[in-house]
Amino acid sequence: MGLHGGQFKTMRIPVETFHLDNGLFVTLSEDHTTPIVAVNLWYHVGSANEKAGRTGFAHLFEHMLFQGSAHVGSNEHFELIQRAGGTLNGSTWLERTNYFETVPSNELALALWLEADRMGELLPAMTQEKLDTQREVVKNERRWSVDNQPYGTMLEKMQELVFPPSYPFQHSLIGSMEDLSAASLDDIAKFFATYYTPDNAVLSIAGDFDSTEARKLVAEYFGPIRSGEGRPALPPMNLPPVFGSRLREVVYDNVSLARLFMAFRSPVFGSEKYYAASVASAVLGMRKGSRLHRSLVRERQIAADAGAFTLDLAKGTDILVVDVTARPETSVARLEEEVEREIDLIHREGVTETEVKRAIALIETDLLASLQSAGERADRLSMFATYFKRPELVNEQADSYRSVTTQRVNELISERFGEENRASLLYVPKEGVEPESVLAAAAGTG
């Protein structure tokens, strides 16, 4: 069976769902074109669920899930999957942690069993030594991707700037060195019992498998796992649609080119307005025909690069971020002025139908091209099941984008791109810059 529903306008991937008695939500999507199958687990826990003093713990915990479980040795999960000819990894985000493998289809049972063993019985394999080693690995991950990388602190500085103190999205995902040092085996046990339970997880299987056989395997391996006692609720996360005032932070850093990240509070992922925001983001910054690229990179030539993206947060508020890197000869003040001017212009006059069409066409192709991969299909099923309990939304994404009108994009822009909803995070090369000129720019735009 292929995925080709004749015309792409009606393209659908098959989606089946069921629950185990312990609360595990399972989604299945068959496709027999290639003998491979993807297994994907989303746990509904991320850095947002960390307690004070334990920043980075959700991610450190993700590392520990590769350190073995009751019937699996340290690093054996990796070895068994690679030996089977599979690929695998895990990742941690603000709202979720995912684990995934793609294997030849005759190895589906192995992938499911490995995931079940660590969901059911992780703790017998946890030792102080393993925790200490992974702590060092994660600290090196922090050094590598954050501290020793130009603009590597962007995400954590942005979180700090745009979210109120103690808001669940406000603190660092990778965590501080101090908090990483403080994490203990006791924390591991508590976090596991609280969040790594079948009723707080979604399991998706996509690719070449037999539905009856897969259901049997899932029931056999995951069925015996006890459900949890319910996860603690996050604090209320509603925020007004705009910041209410200009936010701005200047970071003098070890970078060669100035770079401005300007964020706007924007509608949460999956909402009707989200699709308008996502299209607005593509109009602004997706590919060379986008507003910012055309204007700042091509025409005025003050930027070396320009883009825009959303974080796709499903709770509280999302943010839309415009990202512009200056040319070496562009002053920091000019960079800020020019970006402000573009945003003012779009806020004042809106965008055109042609621009909206371009953005939607690009998004649609990307969406469809990405669904070629079994791993990607499984991940999207898990995402929609985790956030909305509706994995079938994977088939509605294209329609949701296609139904975005220019008017809706412009309403969104008018509501969210005003001066009271802009947060600027400005990176400035620490060498060769006189701080006074940057501060003066601050006064000018503040």
């Binding site: 030996r83 089977a84 000819g85 063993d117 090196n140 050094r143 020793n148 015996p224 025909g289």
Partner: protein, 449 residues
């Protein structure tokens, strides 16, 4: 309780690399098509034998600049109009050059493939390379070079190539050119490079996805009807080592929290007869998560987030390199472990368990690599660029499985050269200098950043 009983694999299902059709069109253009009707998506990949190794001496970067500005203006449209036209069709053209070829690529929904291919063929058959766009692309490349000064990973890679190859070698300079060579390039250089290199005898169009071979042939014949005939000239390929004396170069970054470490030597050309044994050998050494180098540096010692080794396969002998980033304080111990692992794999036969891990992985993962039209196109490009036999992908898995532990040992002894090792560290010289001097890594050179 989850069962302790480990599942056994079921019967394997056959997999065949997508069937493809390979022909030379009357125009001289080579057409390779792989119809795959899984989703209504098509990838078109144009490969021209005009990669960076063809840069004339002193004009390093012209191949990349030419490919990069191909879509910046045609007889009918300027660059902004072209971007707009493609993007309205839901696609964006990626173009560039790597060492061995220039490429122009789009992925498009199948109902737009006719129009997109026509526009692509017409545009790259008649580019005008406006001066303004050439100068802009140069300025953007210069900005990128400037960024490297504060980007330790990229800087380490670049310095590694620079210290590895003799100055005569094109490989010693960045594929997209240095600030010196790029600054000197002109629109005339680009036009000249295009005129001499973008010829039908040097061009392959690869089309994969939801389209028949017949439709693809008709499309390409029409869209590329003005593509000039002839073949591209080649610059002589020099890939000699700068030195065969062991040495270590420290590029000083005061107060860097980590050392970016590269250690290696000139490797093998892609078409070397020992490709498969070397591939398996490297998988055991540093090519997998469960490889010796990663398990040692990351899982046993916690020195790093990750460590790997690879052969950079090119037409000429690309580098063999071990690559990692470690906390500054443990630079010397980490380097010592790398040296030990290289010696160990040359010293004794790998275990059956290690051999089967590497072989089973490379064999088993094969179908997962070709899920998308873009991945299939890129695999077909590899066939074309390295002139591999048509049954290369059909025999790949058998070739991997046939590698023995003896062959791995032989490959390690023939193709790892610890006595010629060049080590590059981008990091805090004050912290690492004394400790690495105790290691047997050769003469030390410290460079200001």
């Amino acid at each position: 309780m989850v069962t302790a009983l480990r599942p056994k694999p079921g019967p394997t299902r056959n997999y065949h690399f997508p069937n493809f059709h390979d022909e030379i069109l009357p125009s001289g253009i080579r057409l390779v098509t792989a119809p795959v009707a899984k989703l209504p998506v098509v990838t078109i990949l144009v490969v021209v034998d005009a990669g960076s190794t063809n840069d004339p001496k002193g004009k390093e970067g012209v191949a990349a600049l030419t490919a990069g500005t191909l879509l910046e203006g045609s007889k009918r449209f300027d660059g902004a109009e072209l971007a707009e036209k493609f993007e309205q069709l839901g696609t964006a053209v990626e173009s560039g050059a790597d060492w061995d070829s220039a490429f122009i690529k789009i992925t498009v929904l199948s109902d737009q493939v006719d129009e997109a291919t026509k526009l692509l063929g017409e545009t790259i058959s008649s580019p005008v390379f406006p001066e303004r766009e050439i100068e802009r692309a140069k300025a953007e490349r210069l900005a990128e070079i400037l960024q490297l000064e504060t980007e330790p990973r990229g800087l380490a890679d670049e310095k590694f190539s620079e210290f590895l190859y003799t100055e005569e070698s094109r490989y010693s300079k960045p594929d997209e050119g240095s600030s010196e060579s790029v600054s000197a390039l002109s629109g005339k250089d680009v036009e000249e490079f295009y005129r001499s290199g973008y010829r039908s005898g040097s061009t392959t169009v690869i089309i994969t996805g939801d389209i028949s071979t017949e439709a693809a042939r008709a499309l390409v014949t029409r869209a590329f009807q003005h593509w000039p005939s002839g073949r591209a000239p080649h610059r002589q390929l020099i890939a000699a080592a700068r030195t065969i004396r062991k040495s270590i170069h420290i590029v000083d970054k005061p107060e860097a929290p980590q050392s970016e470490l590269r250690a290696g030597h000139v490797g093998l050309p892609r078409n070397h007869p020992d490709f498969f044994p070397t591939l398996v050998m490297n998988a055991v050494l540093g090519g997998l998560f469960g490889s010796r180098i990663n398990l040692n540096l990351r899982e046993a010692h916690g020195y790093t987030y990750g460590a790997s080794s690879f052969y950079d396969w090119r037409r000429g002998p690309g580098p063999f390199v071990v690559s990692t980033a470690v906390q500054s304080e443990v630079t010397a111990p980490a380097l010592r472990e790398i040296l030990l692992e290289i010696d160990r794999i040359r010293g004794e036969r790998i275990s059956e368990e290690e051999l089967s891990l590497a072989r089973d992985y490379l064999d088993g993962v094969f179908p997962i690599r070709y899920e998308t039209t873009a991945a299939i196109a890129s695999a077909l490009a590899t066939l074309v660029i390295y002139d591999l036999p048509a049954d290369y992908y059909d025999s790949y898995r058998k070739n991997v499985r046939d590698v023995s532990a003896d062959a791995v040992l032989q490959a390690a002894r023939s193709h790892l050269h610890p006595d010629e090792l060049q080590t590059i560290v981008v990091g805090d010289a004050r912290v690492i200098r004394a400790s690495v001097s105790d290691l047997n890594v050769g003469d030390m050179h410290v460079h200001g950043s």
